[in-house]
């Protein structure tokens, strides 16, 4: 069971790190200063989450690896993040709509994980919930501003929704390991969250006068290490310094 919890914590760490890195790409590139600060604040929350999940995975592995080894010394086939996190940041509408979908997911997922019988996973989740409440309020507000704003903002938001939708299904797809951990009261049955998530997304999109796509296509594979070409490029940049100077400290 310990090896399975290690794997589970690594997955959650991968989700957080990859999204945190994508958000950090906005640093000094956001539409205006307040947004620059907000995006980087959210990025930091996610990178902090990744550190906690990796730190726990490292502790469980008891093979001398630390959190940096998990972040910087694995290749893309070993990364198990859900694909939605690795998609390029796109325009500001794409970034914020992705946040809306993920923030809503986390607002349902984390309270369940906080009830895990695994004390460490529960503690990390309890901490992260508080931050997610802030994230969600912001992504919700931006969705309204896009949808009810100008023709261009509406069009860009709708395009982002249509591009992202097929990647949202993977969030609710459990593999054998996740099902086993959910049954054991350690992990979360994310499949059971789908109806509620869809209702909440639907309510926000309706409020913003945006359209919810139908079930046209779905992509998955992240948990098995099958990624889009984007992850390799992200890792190449993120890991380059660590790989060029292994073990360097400053």
């Amino acid at each position: 069971m310990k090896a399975k919890i290690l794997e589970y914590s690594t997955r959650l760490g991968d989700d957080s790190l990859v999204l945190g890195h994508r958000l950090s790409e906005w640093c000094s590139n956001a539409p205006f200063l307040e947004e620059d600060l907000a995006l980087i604040n959210v990025a930091l929350d996610y990178i902090g989450r990744a550190r906690m999940f990796y730190g726990y995975a490292a502790e469980l592995s008891a093979d001398g690896r630390n959190e940096d080894d998990f972040a910087f010394m694995r290749d893309q086939r070993e990364f198990s993040n859900l694909l939605i996190h690795e998609l390029p940041k796109g325009d500001f509408a794409f970034t914020m709509l992705r946040q809306l979908f993920i923030d809503l997911f986390n607002s349902l997922f984390l309270p369940r994980l906080a009830e895990s019988s695994d004390k460490t996973l529960a503690a990390i989740a309890a901490k992260a919930i508080k931050e997610t409440r802030y994230h969600l309020r912001r992504s919700h507000e931006w969705t309204l501003r896009f949808g009810l704003g100008t023709d261009e903002s509406r069009e860009r938001a709708q395009r982002a929704i249509d591009q992202l939708w097929g990647y949202t299904h993977e969030m609710f797809d459990l593999d054998a390991l996740e099902s086993e951990l959910a049954e054991a009261g350690i992990g979360v049955d994310s499949g059971a969250l789908k109806t509620e998530w869809e209702q909440q997304v639907s309510a926000i999109l309706t409020e913003a006068e945006l359209e919810q796509p139908g079930e046209q296509w779905a992509v998955k594979g992240g948990r098995e290490g099958y990624h889009t070409e984007n992850l390799g490029q992200l890792l190449n940049e993120m890991q380059s310094v660590h790989r060029a100077y292994p073990g360097l400290e400053w």
Binding site: G48, R49, T120, K127, R138
Partner: protein, 179 residues
Amino acid sequence: MVIEFPLPTAAYQARLAQRQASALPEIWALLEQVCDPEIPVLSLWDLGVLNDIEQTDERLLVTITPTYSGCPAMQTMRDDIEAVLRQSGIAAFEVRESLSPAWSSDWISPEGRSKLTAYGIAAPRACTACRGQPLDAEIQCPRCGSTETRMTSEFGSTACKALFQCQACLEPFDYFKPI
């Protein structure tokens, strides 16, 4: 100046009781001088990061609670605590991070709230009252005391702060977020 929630908070009183029950008052007083690197008027005690000090057989065990998951100041806080302990001739110690229970702005001391306001940062409202509610409800300007203020961004210069502007005196200011 109207304060709209009871002070000190129950969460702070629980921290204080723990400190007062401790057998190491001199270490608490010693570590009271370690301040937040970003908000140097606040001690780690005021902020709610310094939460327990115990003496075990082998070493002094100091427990700190991180504020935000990714707060980059945590490492500096830890280093500063270690430096103060070493300067005082304490060699056997461990600084331990505790995630549970999760840190809350309700843990900030009443003195810490006054210091924040004097420093130009509006102190957080009680978290229990704010949960799920919008942030921009009548935050008092730390400069002129007016509640005619508006939020310019929920995310400020550090993870723990939001940006506000006073409509009365026009001062832009930080608001320490309730969390």
